[in-house]
Assembly symmetry: C2
Homo-oligomer: 142 residues x 2
């Protein structure tokens, strides 16, 4: 299998993830996370351990939004053997309590290939902070 | 070169990075970042492009602190060919304006090996946010 083939497989997986977000499809999403994923996610605690914890974070998002869209921009994929990392800016947008909202987050996804299948073994999702005010910056644009 | 050898090399590089932070040694640190690094760093903007931008972020930290310590905890290294990713919880602590301060951040480092040398091609540093208040959470403990 070539690196280009692996890049395609990973790009397709990320498309599946975005589709699953839009469809609020937790089962579809769960197939992309390694069982032992460690996620540094937007909300506390510092780290979320295991695919169930990661799914619970998405379940909270799905409950908050009546309608959801998910855009993945500037995706860069780097593959080496059975390990890969990707980065992109992702915009989660939709309707929360009747109000239209949207936030760009930074996403780093770290993949491992096991038995021919790529899974996310670690990811990191965040917004920057304003050091002076201590506020998270939820309205930055790329 | 074996994977174990690569892991050792990356672990050593991260040790060099921590030493450079403690010594406020920008030159020592600059040798670890790829010239085309893209960093999702603690402060805005969403992404910092290039080793100079990354060094400028550290220069701001060095200017703010009169004394600095840097702890790297729970470091996990995953290597595949010429690509690797690492994650850890890092505590930056020291004295700012006469006051003792310290914050745990989540760190994801993504490495590429070029001409036999590992460099950080992408990294991501953040703290979680409290969605209700919009505040960045600077006092979480692992």
């Amino acid at each position: 299998m070539t690196t280009a083939h692996d890049e395609d497989a990973i790009r397709q997986l990320i498309g599946t993830l975005a589709d699953a977000v839009r469809a609020k499809d937790l089962d579809g999403m769960a197939r992309i996370f390694a069982p032992d994923i460690v996620s540094y996610d937007v909300e506390p605690p510092l780290r979320h351990v295991g695919a169930e914890a990661k799914a619970a974070n998405w379940a909270r998002v799905f409950a908050a939004y009546t309608q959801l869209d998910y855009e993945v921009r500037d995706l860069t994929i780097t593959v080496g053997g059975d390990v890969a990392f990707v980065r992109s800016l992702n915009r989660l947008s939709g309707t929360v309590a009747g109000r239209q909202t949207g936030t760009w987050v930074r996403w780093t996804g770290c993949f491992r290939k096991t038995d021919g299948s790529w899974l996310i073994a670690h990811d990191h999702v965040s917004v920057p902070l304003d050091m002076a005010s201590g506020k998270a910056l939820l309205d930055l644009e790329p």
